[in-house]
Symmetry: C2
Subunit: 598 residues, 2 copies
């Protein structure tokens, strides 16, 4: 009988929860929650991505959102599971007035610790998949029949000219194409403009040795999973080819070799005026919505060191670095200690260069295998698949965790992780490497979510640093450049034939400044980060990634991007928000912490 | 208890079967079979595709093959099922000395009616999928590291020049690319040469309105299933785009715009000498094996009617027809009544032409919806998927049926099918259409397997014929052409601006005659067909499709092709045969009926 207890307990809890929600009795709902509770809502109730922490915040959300959302028709999905710590996790389905949704509750001693609610589909606008798929051809004889190719060509020829896209997406990387695919499935006319010559080139143009650091199980694009012989770690040109194929297979409208030059919102007409340059031709587009999907980093940031112009050798930013082939026997300095700094140092060494890395500040390092062992293998791996955890299930599981809860869990795991790799970390420190695990020891994922930088996933370069094959100068700053190389803050000089600035990127809001205006960029505010108050993630605490995939303070302006998990998962939620607006569905946004509105 | 009876019965039967096989006791094995029995073996025991009918044939096979094959380690796979007719169907796994195999037995009253044995993988050469997939990158620092792109480029640059492909595939349609994908997964160096400008063009160059007649569930290519929003019937340009993407994703080596001009087998060196013309350059390739995958039809066949040169209008073969756009208001004659004749007639009518179809001999017509209802929906449909019948399971189920048994089953189904569509068939006959259902009433599939022609899957043209919007002249032959049109055998004249010869194709062996020599073509003999002794399928009865996917009488010459099901399923078996030869595994071929050797 014990086996069925969690199920019965959850069933009872869910019934009471549903009943109190139906009665719009927020106090009654909160009586089912423990004091230290969270509610993460993705579009279902708030028409935004928002996490409410503690009873007062949740009560405020319920009072504002329940009357419009009308959540109902709750039913358990699958079997609840109770973990060793006594937390019972249960998935359920429910509906609002306009949408089909999924939720998850984590119960501790019969009370809700975390609640997760997420929109899946707008009723009446479900994706046409499986038994609902189209016929592809109309049987019978039809005068003036248009073929698939006729339709595709006419669509492509008129879009952006006679017919304006409902949604314009700037950037054709993984962010742009995943969103375009989601919108395609929802029949939202969308156009992607991308400055590169063809789809995938944003990856192709990166340095030669680049490989994705996330394993295959976590990098699927929506609708078209990788075949099961796809390698664990994808080389950059292979993901580029995949994206190119994906654009064709998903029938996405993408203008390559097209740059967005300027955009302004026409309040009176409720549409954007976007100037683009397409293969020499300047055109004006008028989409209702504008999505910036140019990547979570802004333009390359190169520090303005004194004497930069006097350096007689070659210098480039990491984003312009391609390969170490030309640098056999040359003296190379890599300034910085993030992922690309490490990858480039290793690549130069592999090509026979004499390499010195200049580490200016402490860096988080985790070995790729260790990362898999402690994190991704539980949700994204063959073992997870064998245990029935599909990519979709894994994605929802990740999404169900409030970021504050995630931070605590990460911190605990890093204690074990650091023990597991103690010898490795000792050796790195011994070599003079300045290590950190985040200001509050919460590790890589949190650093990624807070600032998207400051770490290296070790696939080989650390070994080179440990044994001195790649030289390291740490805890120093670059004082100035000379004709021959770099003068460091400790007074030493480093001679160089090549300097690589692995010095990161401007924040994303720079794109908005340049494309739209400083005023709009300022109104929208900081993009990315949780408001943790740690370096490069200014507070106050928001509990969600700021401004991503959800309404911003600029009407009809959206940001899409992130890693492949985020591009895949959040693209659907962003697409639903756009679809709802296109169909004239009421979308009362409640996102008090991020948007500063009640 | 009755539920477990079939399972127990099969388990007992399989144990005895395995025991008698292990003892090489063919009489003991046959004691477990009913008198009227079949054994279809795909590569597992015979190193060919062969069906043995009745006890004497099976006994001969066992006596010859058992000592080398050593089948063992039999175990049931899944639950046996007993149908309404009392036939119990059970799948099992087993091994031979060199391979892992799957089998199926159909028992009637405790005795074997049909036995099916099929090779799955060569031991030690399994495909690297799932948990066995490659890493994609080598962690650690490696001097002189080659990236994925370096390897791909070097591979592509050297193949056919410094490095000869083990296997050369002529034809880059679905047959060529599916086999190339199978060989890629088995690490058999293969090169595809294709005359078209780019992958998929063989489809793109067909007439505009063409759509695949098989539904999506039955047209998957290996390893990369269509996404679940793919339309039921795929337009020809969409399948072309898919094939193009497939070639990229599967990393196939394909030379487009390359024509194979001549081939001869160098017996002394045990390799082919193949002359190809690649974008103007004449080259000589020396593969160990040559696969002709140019489609199951030979060159377009245009009857040599008297007066052809005198016709003043336009004339083309159906394979050169593109669209009816230019023929609004024009008088068009379509000679023939197969699939393309119907599709082209409808396309011309849809574009406002005045169309007459000249039906020279009776034709089998089945409505596409009816075909789905009576056949494919049981194995290839959403309902089948919901019932756990994956494409793989469906493929093996189809393959498990001996063709002789299939013919009987089809015949029975067609009785019902014709009742279901009686009104439709009456109306067609009323319009003067000459109908047949195969000489022995076995229907479309058998006609396809026997001659690959003589039928129309109705997607709309029959309605036009029934109500006279497309005019029909049936039971007449073309006597001669005149300046203005066609003179028919009944003395009438048909004026025409356009004549389309939907008159089919030469048999496949024509390719061999032209590419290799008439002598080799004659040695190989007829390609395709079962030996049914019906029209265009000369006897004697073979019980397998002649010369396809298996050893031919010409050393190291193979034929690959067929519809998408066949290209998908049999490509694996052909690839295993090639891989075994590459690895030096003994492959004693036993195929007495088709190859005429013991």
């Amino acid at each position: 009988m014990t086996d069925t207890e969690p199920s019965q307990q959850v069933t009872r809890w869910l019934a009471r929860f549903a009943e109190r929600l139906a009665a719009a009795d927020s106090a009654g709902v909160l009586a089912l929650f423990e004091q230290h509770c969270y509610w993460r809502d993705l579009v279902a109730l708030t028409w935004s991505l928002a996490t409410f922490e503690g009873k007062p915040e949740i009560q405020g959300m319920l009072e504002r959102c329940l009357p419009a959302a009308l959540p109902a028709a709750f039913s358990l999905e699958g079997e609840p599971r109770t973990d060793a710590a006594g937390v019972t996790e249960a998935w359920f389905r429910f509906e609002t007035g306009v949408a089909v949704c999924r939720g998850q509750v984590r119960l501790r001693e019969g009370l809700c610790w975390t609640m997760f609610t997420c929109m899946l589909d707008l009723k009446g606008f479900e994706e046409k998949r499986g038994a609902q798929r189209g016929m592809g051809v109309r049987f019978g004889a039809v005068k003036g029949r248009k073929t698939w190719t006729d339709d595709r060509r006419e669509d492509a020829a008129s879009l952006g000219r006679e017919v304006q896209p409902y949604c314009l997406i700037i950037g054709g990387g993984q962010g742009g194409v995943t969103l375009a695919a989601r919108l395609k499935m929802l029949n939202v006319p969308a156009l992607v403009v991308d400055k590169h010559a063809k789809p995938g080139d944003a990856w192709r143009e990166r340095y030669k040795s680049l490989c994705l650091h996330d394993p295959v199980w976590n990098i699927h694009l929506p609708y078209l999973p990788f075949p099961d012989h796809w390698p664990v770690f994808t080389p950059k040109d292979k993901i580029a080819d995949w994206i190119e194929a994906y654009v064709s297979i998903m029938e996405l409208n993408i203008w390559s070799a097209t740059e967005a030059k300027a955009a302004r919102y026409d309040d009176a007409r409720g549409e954007w005026v976007v100037t683009v340059e397409r293969q020499g031709e300047t055109m004006e587009l008028r989409p209702k919505h504008l999505v910036v999907a140019t990547g979570m980093a802004g333009a390359p940031a190169v520090p303005d060191y004194r004497g930069r112009e006097s350096f007689a050798g070659l210098a480039c930013h990491s984003s312009d670095y391609r390969s170490g082939e030309a640098f056999r026997g040359k003296r190379c300095i890599v300034i910085g200690s993030n992922n690309s700094a490490h990858d480039i140092s290793a690549d130069l060494w592999e090509h026979g260069a004499d390499v010195t890395m200049v580490q200016r500040s402490s860096t988080l390092v985790v070995r790729a295998e260790t990362l898999r062992r402690f994190f991704s293998s539980k949700l994204y791996s063959e073992e997870a698949l064998a245990a029935g955890i599909t990519t979709e299930k894994a994605d929802f599981t990740v999404a169900s965790r409030p970021y504050a809860v995630m931070a605590e869990a990460q911190k605990a795991t890093y204690v074990d992780l650091r023990k597991h790799d103690a010898a490795f970390y000792d050796a790195l420190r011994q070599a003079g490497f300045l290590l950190d695990f985040g200001e509050d020891e919460t590790g890589l994922s949190m650093k990624y979510l807070r600032r998207g930088s400051g770490y290296y996933i070790d696939v080989g370069a650390s070994e080179l640093i440990i044994d001195g094959r790649v030289k390291l100068r740490s805890g120093v700053e670059v004082e100035r450049l000379t004709k021959d190389g770099v003068a460091l803050s400790d007074g030493s000089l480093l001679a160089a034939d090549l300097i690589v600035y692995a010095t990161g990127f401007d924040p994303m809001e720079i794109w908005l400044e340049r494309l739209i205006s400083p005023a709009v960029a300022a109104k929208v505010g900081h993009i990315w980060g949780l408001g943790s108050g740690t370096r490069r993630d200014p507070g106050p605490w928001v509990g969600e990634i700021r401004n991503m995939w959800k309404p911003t303070r600029q009407e009809a302006l959206w940001l899409q991007g992130g890693n492949l998990f985020q591009a895949r998962f959040y693209s659907k939620l962003l697409a639903l928000q756009l679809k709802a607006r296109m169909e004239g569905i009421e979308t009362p946004v409640h996102d008090p912490k991020d948007m500063g509105r009640p």
